[in-house]
Symmetry: C2
Subunit: 175 residues, 2 copies
């Protein structure tokens, strides 16, 4: 996690990027990190170029989904979290996650993706911590998700429990 | 299920109650059944007396929750389903369920409750089928829920699968 140790230190003037640079992109920046020429920042702004999101999802091998539905899903998600890599004037989407919610008790996290370039460097963990922090700010106390087998331990490391008290995640799909 | 065989037969003139009677309560009636002096109807109308909902939840022993948050949760749920028992001019809330959703891909069903008087008579199953039908109408294809151990088989009977392909439902709660 050392690589990302400076994340969420926006209050530290030494690590804070110039306000004008951030304002170009979003007023919803919630965390940042500087590494060499690249700066990474987390945002809850949900105006995302859907082609860029598709590119990110392609990079991890996800099936393509109709953009019309992706647009609607973003619009009706309670929280959308993105990670942007910025080099000089170029920025690139390198991380994404979103959550549905009743705005009161429960949230469910979906579509957690980190670009392969940044996998294994603690960025996914940092993003999930940021998701939890944001949801807690909104007084959501029950945060849920459905984890593929290979990431169950990853989420366990973040404090997620599988099948607590025998509660089972269940799915219904059309025939 | 015989007891509920007439549910969702609103198109059958013989079983359809008078329109004026239904209109008193809701324009969102989606299913109905007549049994002796009592008529039961399903509704997606979300203007619910919160005290009545609390009474229903009390009847099954759920912990009370702040009404302010319950109101918000209803407002931001994608689908709210209620079952009403009507005898002459009296009506009583006897069933409830709701779902959060991104309005595009996923829905998660929460707070499924049937009044003890009506448990074991197929009403829960009928309500869940109605939930699935409504969500399918909205083109939601991934319907999820978190089932307590004693109701896993109930949901399995409705076509829900637990841990398909090793996917685990996981929970995070504040310390």
């Amino acid at each position: 996690m050392g690589f990302w140790k400076n994340l969420f230190t926006g209050s530290d003037p030494a690590s804070a990027p110039k306000a004008t640079q951030l304002e170009e992109y979003s007023t919803e920046v919630v965390g940042q990190y500087t590494s060499g020429n690249a700066r990474l920042f987390f945002s809850t702004e949900r105006e995302i170029d859907l082609y860029e999101l598709e590119e990110l999802c392609d990079a991890v091998g996800w099936s393509r989904r109709p953009m019309r539905k992706v647009r609607k899903a973003l619009q009706f998600s309670f929280l959308v979290m993105t990670i942007w890599e910025q080099r000089s004037s170029q920025r690139r989407l390198v991380g994404f996650a979103r959550a549905t919610s009743d705005h009161a008790f429960n949230a469910t996290i979906w579509d957690v993706v980190i670009h392969p370039t940044y996998q294994g460097k603690g960025l996914g963990k940092a993003m999930m911590k940021q998701m939890i922090k944001q949801l807690r700010t909104e007084d959501i106390s029950n945060i849920t998700l459905f984890a593929d087998p290979q990431v169950v331990d990853f989420y366990r490391g973040l404090g997620f429990m599988s099948d607590p008290e025998g509660i089972k995640g269940m799915f219904w799909y059309p025939d």
